[in-house]
Structure formats: C-alpha cells, structure tokens
C-alpha cells in the first residue's frame, strides 16, 4: 500500500467513459492507457465485458495518477471528467462526477430504445454543469473521412483537460494502429486533430 508515499504531491485524474456497445468507447480508453504508460503514470482501466456489450450501455473507468492507485473503480464524486460518445449516456454517471467535473459528450444520439427522452431536455441537463461541452463528433468524423472515427474526435476534444501531452497521445494512436492499414491511422489522426480544434472552438 502507498501510505508512506503520500508525501509526494499527488496528481490524479479519473475519467468515466460512456457510450453504447459498438461506439468505440473502450478503444479510446486503451489509447489513453497506453499514453499513460509512455509518460510513466500509474493507471487502472476497468471495464465490463460480455452480455452488456450487445447494444447496451458500455462504460469504463480510467484512473491516472503519479502514485500507485488502489481501487479500479472510481468512487462517488471522484471523477474529474465524463467522456461520453452519446448525450443520454453522459448523464448516467453523474453520481461519479466531482461537483465541478467536466463533461464532454458527442451530440449524436443512439436511438435504440423506445423511451429516449426529448433531445433538448437531455442537452439542457448536460449544460447545467458549468464545465460541460457537447460537440458534433459525427460531422467532424465525416470530414476526417470515416463516420466510425468519431471516438477519436471525442478523444481530441478531451485532450486539453488530460494530464498527458498531445505528442504522447499521438504516439499511442500510432502504436495502436501500427498493425492496421496506414490509411486507417491517417484518418484516425485527422479525427483526433479535428477534435482538438472543436474543443478549442467550443
């Protein structure tokens, strides 16, 4: 345990990733994990596999720190940021978010349930948080060349709040896509850059 080490100034950053099965939530979590390793940070990434992934809610907890991390799960009111691919899902984990925590959410809803609330109400609810930001990840992804890379747009939008340098995240993306087609890497990097610009604009 780390009780003796507590003298060192502690840097922690906890993120809740949210979305719906198939949106690429877990892949952006794994890119941040790799970047954390490169920067020598401790990290824990907890996720739920299996049945819940089939079109249902998907979430992951990511904890970053310069000291050893005890719990894989973020405590109530402990998260610095909710990073959500989908507006409604960004509201599901409010109990985990710090009172002054950040919400970054994609604006495109996944309408696979009959009782999806009115979109204006959802957005209004997100915006009640002082540090909330809803961005059109899909449009940015399309201009990057592929609708599916909207998760990378979201990652780019989150960058300025992360305790990780841009170069490191970029290197992590390159490593993750090293095995795949070069074209895939280019599209993903482009989406990441567009995300950074989007957040700057918002």
């Amino acid at each position: 345990m780390t009780m003796q080490k507590q003298k060192k100034a502690q840097l922690t950053f906890d993120i809740v990733f949210a979305g719906v099965g198939g949106q690429g939530v877990l892949s952006i979590a794994s890119i941040i994990a790799r970047a954390a390793l490169i920067e020598g940070l401790y990290f824990r990434q907890s996720e739920v596999h299996g049945m819940s992934q089939r079109g249902g809610v998907v979430h992951a907890h990511m904890r970053l720190s310069n000291l050893d991390i005890a719990s894989d799960i973020i405590p109530h009111g402990g998260a610095d940021m909710i990073l959500s691919m989908e507006p409604l899902e960004s509201l599901r984990y409010m109990k985990l978010l710090k009172p002054d925590g950040i919400i970054i959410s994609g604006s495109e809803p996944v309408l696979n349930i009959p009782d999806y609330p009115d979109m204006h109400t959802v957005i209004r609810c997100i915006k009640k948080n002082s540090r909330a930001c809803v961005i059109d990840t899909l449009q940015a992804a399309e201009s990057a060349g592929n609708r599916k890379v909207n998760n990378m747009v979201l990652l780019g939008a989150a960058l300025c709040a992360l305790p990780i340098k841009k170069n490191t995240v970029e290197r992590s993306i390159r490593e993750v896509f090293a095995q795949k087609h070069h074209e895939m890497l280019i599209v993903n990097l482009r989406a990441f850059e567009l995300g950074i610009a989007l957040h700057g604009a918002a």
Partner: protein, 584 residues
C-alpha cells in the same frame, strides 16, 4: 523487467506461460474468457498448447492428464463453470499431482454476465486445497507463477481466484524477462492416481495429513500480511483480495477523521487455507474487527465462529457492508464511518434516465428463430404466448436476451444444458407441447446428454438447436464442431430421421419455420429442429482477423465438412423440401 499493459486475465495467462506451462485448457465464460484467448494468441511462438474444450469438465480432466505426465497445466473457467468441473476438481485433491496444476477461476459478483454470484473460495475450503487471490494485475501475474510451485511442492491442485474487477481491469504489469523451462515428460506413479476405494482412503488420509503443512505455508507466505498497532485497541481491519484496494482508497480520509492513535491493525489475506494464527493475533489486538472481502462472507463467518462473542466482527453478515453484489470504494467508506463525497448529481438534478438493456445485434439469426417460435407458440396456445399447453425451457447464450422484450419467448433459464432435460421433465409431468431451446455451443457443452435421455425415453417433446456457428456471447470463439455435425449427433443417439432436420433461419423463412415448428410440436414424439445461420458478427470478425488459430480451426472444419458432405447434402435437401411443402 519489462512493463506491459495487461488485463488481469492476460496477466494470469502470462504468469502461467512464464512459469513454464505446457498446456492450457478452458471453456469460454465471462469474466474468464481472455485467460485462454491470451494463451492461445501466444501459443504458436511459445512452444506450448492452448485450447478451448467442449466444457469445463473435459478441460479440467485434460489438465489432469498433463499433470500425470509431469508437465504443468493451466485450466481456466468462470465460477459456474467450476460446478460443471466439480467432479474431477474434488477428486483431483486425492491425486498425487505431479506437474503443477493451476485452476484459474473468475467469479462474477453482481452477476454482470452470470446466473449466480457463488464464491469459488468455498470450493477451496470444500476441497481443502490452496487458493491464491490477487488484488491487482501484478499479483495475478506473480501469484500464478507461485501457484505452480505450490502445486508441485504439496502435490495439490491450486486455485487462483479472480473477480470481475481484477479479471477485466487493465494496468501496467512488470514481467520477468526469462521464461522457466517446461517440465520434462515424466509419468507419475499410478498408485497416487488410481482412485479405487482402498487407495482413495489412503490418499484422503494423506490429503488430511498435508493440511498442517498447507496452513504453515499460508502463515508464512508473503501474501498474508499482518500489521499490529498496539496503541489502537478499538478497531482493526481484515481485508482479502480486492477488498484491500477499497480499504486503501479510503485510508487517508479515514486517518484524517479517526486516526489520532494511528492506523488500525490490519491483516490482509491473499491465500487459503486462512492464516489462523495471524487471525488470532489480530483479534487479540482490537475489540472490533471489520472484514472486507469480495464475494460471500466466508472469512467473516469463520472469524465469528472462531472468536465468539467477546469480539465484534462486522462485515456483510453484520450489515455494515452489502450482502449481495460487488463491493466498491463507497461501500467500504460507509463501513469505515465516513460520509460519501459530494458529486455533480447533488447539485445538478437529473430526472430518471431510461435503461438501455443489451439487445440482439443487427441481423442476428436468433431474432428470426424466436420470431418463428413465438408464432408457433401463439398457434399452439390459441392466441397467447405462454399458455398451459406449452413450456419453453431455454439455455445460456446470446439468445437468453430473447427472454425479455420484445420476444418474451422463454419461461426458464437455469444453467448450461438445462433446457432439454427440463423440457423432458415438463413433458413427463404432462405438458402437451414442451420445448427445449439451446444454442449450438451449449448443446455440445452439456446438451447432448439431455438429448440422449429424451431419445431413449421416447418422450413427446421438441428440441430446438440454435446453430449460429460460434460461441457468440463470449466473443465469437469457434464452436467445437461445425454446424453439419448436429444432425448426425441427433440421429446417432436415436432421434427419428423423419423428425430431425435443419432449417435455415432468416427473415423470409419466419412464417414457414413457424408452421414447421407448430407441426412438429403436434407430432406425438421427439422432434429435433436445428435452426441454422451463422452469426454475422463472428463472420465479420473472421474476415477481418484471420489469425493463425482461426485458420487452423477453419481447416479442421473444412476437413470435417469434407467427411460429412453426403449426409449433409441429404439433410439440406430434406429441409428444403420441408420448407417447400410447408409453403404449399
């Protein structure tokens, strides 16, 4: 030392590889699946084998065979899988284990993807064998390596118990640079392995005889750590496995609030048998002891009975921690007397958010199969889905999603393979139209025996096998046998050729298939209907990945296909004729 990003499951697998494992076996099941899939991905270059087996029992028995020959074996499964493997597991403690035998079992408290939240530590207690419980990914790696040594030293099977939050959590793991060499092939003496009553009695006594040495190991190993603070006599803590993480998470806040006399005395338990002497020392150090353990209150129960009423033991039984579901840092925070931290939800009120339950993927063949079954049920029950005339017993797999909206097709789901025997029981009890509905991999896992019972007793019931070609729910592992084998299996156990057939399940065939299902239900005897179409997700994965193991699996299937072709074509033709006839 090299740092890798690993899931708890992958860290465990790598630990086995670095410990010189020769063979790895398992059956997929959340949250354990990645243990074997990771080993499979490393096996080609690693010089060891890793395989999926038909079920957990055959996996465990294969591992026993490896151990008999002096080599190290890993066998992996989820908690309920150990019920299927309980017979060889319990008996293996009476065998003189030769090559190290490690059983990795992943428990699923909160039942994220399970039918119950049983605690595998009870199996270690029951079998009187050793268990190691990692609290994080690094420990999953290291404990697996030492589990093999413990297994060989004491000649026992050793369990490494994971829980969902260790199994499915990732962190950086420092791994050793060098691999231990695999053991040489050297057979054990057969006397230690012939469990005839006369020998079993001797071996059982020997197993009892090992208990003091095992307790001694558990007292002295580095996984059970005791720190006594003589200044604090009011309160002490026992943690086990992942419980330690949630205690550590809250310790600085706890010290701010209640830490005038320093840290409470603390015993962490990472191995079984439980270190009785250390528990005794701790209980003498404080009047109240909080037990934080993931799963069922096993340590708490033992402490309560060990110590009696002079000490107050708190935990899940006393009610300071929840009795069911997985623990989290907030549960432990409350148990420590701290208030929960404020969150954004306290300031920004969010009205209730609709649930988003998992659902069948787009283009799923199960959707068409259950649409057809529902139509047949509505006919058989004259307008209602589940009337007195029908019983639908289903099984474990993606298709269990059809128990809820919009299908509501099922009335029972109990355990792997239960569908066919339960439907048989319902028929014996007098049900007119009884259905056992089971997926292909589940059928191979433990459905065949039920089908034999049904065929032999010539009961009036219907078996529907949902053949999508994959173990889809756990990530589309290949099924043990290719689709065209099911027909042969059914015929070979005595199902009637005229009431055993394959139908393609697809949107345009829903009406026809519903008619056929209805007609077969009205037949007074056993019908076996195989509804067949590959899982599109599995097919897509195959097209993208095509790793070595897939290719070799495919080759094996092709070989089988070549062998089976004549019979298969015949059955295809019959099915086609049947669908055509039903159209008319």
């Amino acid at each position: 030392m090299n740092k890798l990003i690993l899931l708890g499951n992958e860290a465990l697998g790598l630990g086995a590889i670095h410990a010189g494992v020769s063979c790895c076996f398992g059956y997929p099941g959340t949250p354990s699946t990645e243990i074997i899939s990771f080993c499979k991905s490393r096996s080609a270059e690693g010089g060891f084998s890793a395989q999926w087996c038909t079920n957990e029992k055959t996996a465990f028995e294969s591992a026993l065979g490896v151990s008999f020959c002096g080599k190290r074996a890993l066998v992996a499964m989820k908690q309920v899988g150990l019920n299927a493997a309980a017979d060889p597991f319990m008996n293996s403690t009476l065998c003189a284990i030769k090559g190290g035998l490690v059983l990795a079992v992943a428990d699923d408290p909160s039942m994220h993807s399970s039918q119950n939240e049983q605690d595998s530590r009870y199996y270690a207690e029951f079998a009187m064998t050793a268990l190691l419980e990692p609290a994080n990914q690094q420990e999953a790696y290291e404990m697996t390596i030492s589990a093999f040594s413990v297994s060989e030293k004491y000649k026992i099977p050793v369990i490494v118990r994971l829980v969902t939050r260790v199994a499915h959590s990732r962190s950086a793991v420092s791994v050793h640079a060098r691999l231990r060499r695999q053991n040489n092939f050297q057979k054990a003496k057969s006397k230690g392995w012939l469990l005839l009553p006369s020998i079993s009695r001797i071996n059982y006594n020997a197993h009892i005889g090992k208990q003091s040495a095992l307790s001694d190991w558990s007292e002295k190993n580095s996984y059970n750590t005791l720190r006594i603070n003589t200044k604090r006599k009011d309160f002490a803590v026992i943690t086990s496995g992942i419980g330690r993480n949630y205690y550590a998470e809250n310790i600085s806040d706890y010290m701010k609030a209640f830490g005038k006399k320093g840290l409470p005395s603390h015993l962490h338990i990472g191995s079984m048998p439980f270190p009785g002497k250390k528990i005794n020392l701790l209980t003498k150090a404080a009047r109240e002891i909080l037990v934080i353990e993931e799963g069922m209150p096993l340590i708490e129960k033992q402490c309560t009975s060990l110590i009696g009423s002079a000490y107050r033991i708190t935990g899940k039984l006393s009610g300071v921690l929840p009795r069911t579901g997985e623990l989290n840092p907030d549960h432990v925070r409350t148990a420590l007397g701290l208030t929960i931290q404020k969150s954004a939800a306290d300031t920004v009120k969010v009205s209730s958010i609709p649930q988003r339950p998992p659902q069948l993927c787009k283009g799923c063949p199960h959707s068409d199969s259950f649409s057809a079954l529902n139509k047949a049920l509505l006919k058989l029950n004259r307008g209602i889905l589940h009337g007195a005339d029908t019983v639908v017993c289903a099984d474990i797999g993606c298709y269990s999603l059809c128990a809820s909206a919009p299908f509501f097709s099922m009335e029972t789901i109990v355990c792997m393979g239960a569908s066919i025997p339960m439907a048989k029981g319902a028929a014996e009890a007098g049900c007119r139209y009884s259905f056992g509905v089971i997926g292909d991999s589940t059928f191979l896992h433990s459905g065949i025996t039920g089908l034999i019972d049904a065929a032999v007793s010539q009961v009036n019931m219907n078996v529907i096998i949902l053949d999508n070609g994959y173990v889809a729910m756990t990530g589309c592992q290949p099924t043990m046998l290719s689709s065209n084998r099911f027909m042969q299996i059914a015929l070979s156990v005595g199902c009637e050729p005229t009431h055993t057939f394959v139908l393609e399940t697809k949107p345009s065939a829903i009406d026809i298939n519903a008619k056929i299902i209805e007609k077969e239900a009205r037949y007074n005897g056993l019908s076996v209907i195989i509804l067949s179409r590959p899982c599109p997700i599995g097919q897509r994965q195959d097209a993208v990945n095509k790793p070595a193991d897939r290719r070799s699996d495919k080759r094996a299937h092709q070989r089988q296909d070549a062998v089976n072709k004549p019979a298969d074509r015949r059955s295809d033709k019959r099915a086609h004729q049947r669908q055509e006839a039903a159209k008319k």
